[in-house]
């Protein structure tokens, strides 16, 4: 039981507990907090994989911007506790079985096909930030510019949607 393995199981357990809590909580704000826990656990896993820049970006953008947006919208809309209808309670158990089957199928397919690729130890002399930025601005410059355009469109769209009605 080496140290990375222990850290992996702790973070993985945290992520799964967060995801299960997202499903089981009744109030959307508690679901949002559970999702934040999942994202922080995933950022820890990215650090364990040596992807430090992606981990920092995950916390800043996902944890610090997107989830803040979710939390603010939940507060503004004054979302209350969820109601339960009879159909959803009945469909819960078979649904869970089917989801387990789906997840198991996905996992088994990938695990079989990669012949258990052991993770190679990355001896990174340059930091991953430098290499990622090299790739981003040389090989992937066209998608990069397109995503900036996409964000512009999203900002304009959000502003139009949130306008007050002209009455």
């Amino acid at each position: 039981m080496t140290a990375p393995l222990v850290v992996f199981f702790v973070l993985a357990g945290l992520a799964v507990i967060g995801a299960v809590s997202l499903i089981l909580q009744k109030h959307p704000i508690h679901s949002a907090l559970s999702l934040i826990v999942v994202m922080i656990a995933l950022a820890g896993l990215y650090l364990l994989l040596g992807a430090e820049f992606v981990a920092a970006v995950q916390i800043i953008i996902y944890g610090g911007a997107i989830m803040v947006l979710f939390v603010l919208v939940i507060m503004l809309l004054n979302a209350g506790v969820e109601e339960h209808t009879s159909i959803s309670k009945m469909a819960g158990a078979p649904g869970l079985l089917l989801v387990v089957a789906l997840a198991g199928l996905v996992a088994a397919t990938i695990v079989r096909s990669t012949d258990s690729v052991l993770s190679t130890s990355q001896a990174g002399d340059m930091s991953s930030t430098l290499e990622i930025s090299n790739m981003l601005f040389k090989d992937f410059v066209y998608p990069f510019e397109l995503t900036s355009f996409l964000i512009l469109v999203a900002v304009l769209g959000a502003m139009v949607l949130a306008q007050r009605e002209k009455s």
Binding site: V16, Y46, Q58, L69, A103, V111, S128
Partner: protein, 100 residues
């Protein structure tokens, strides 16, 4: 070191939980959050494979996925606010008719 398979299995579990939440929750915001959970599970698989293969393409793709998720969250939440304003409910089972 942690074998890549462990990361893939964790990613599949999180994805499955995201699908379950997407299908069985009734609050529109919680459904939206389950979409983010699914995207995160996929990101984990990308980064795990990027480390296993020794190339950084996976991490660059994760950055793009995060950016697209941010844009989608902004517009999606705007739409949710409008729906809540018009129908006065956040329960998707009540928003199933075009008629108000």
């Amino acid at each position: 070191m942690v074998p890549t398979n462990y990361y893939v299995i964790l990613s599949a579990i999180l994805f499955g939980l995201g699908v379950f939440a997407f299908v069985f929750k009734r609050n529109i915001i919680t459904i939206f959050m389950s979409i983010e959970l699914m995207l995160n599970a996929v990101n984990l698989a990308f980064v795990a494979f990027s480390q296993a293969l020794g190339k950084l393409d996976g991490q660059v793709f994760v950055l793009f996925v995060i950016v697209v998720a941010a844009a989608e969250a902004a517009v999606g939440l705007g739409i949710i606010i409008l729906i809540a304003r018009n129908r006065q409910t956040l329960n998707v089972e009540r928003v199933d008719l075009l008629k108000l």
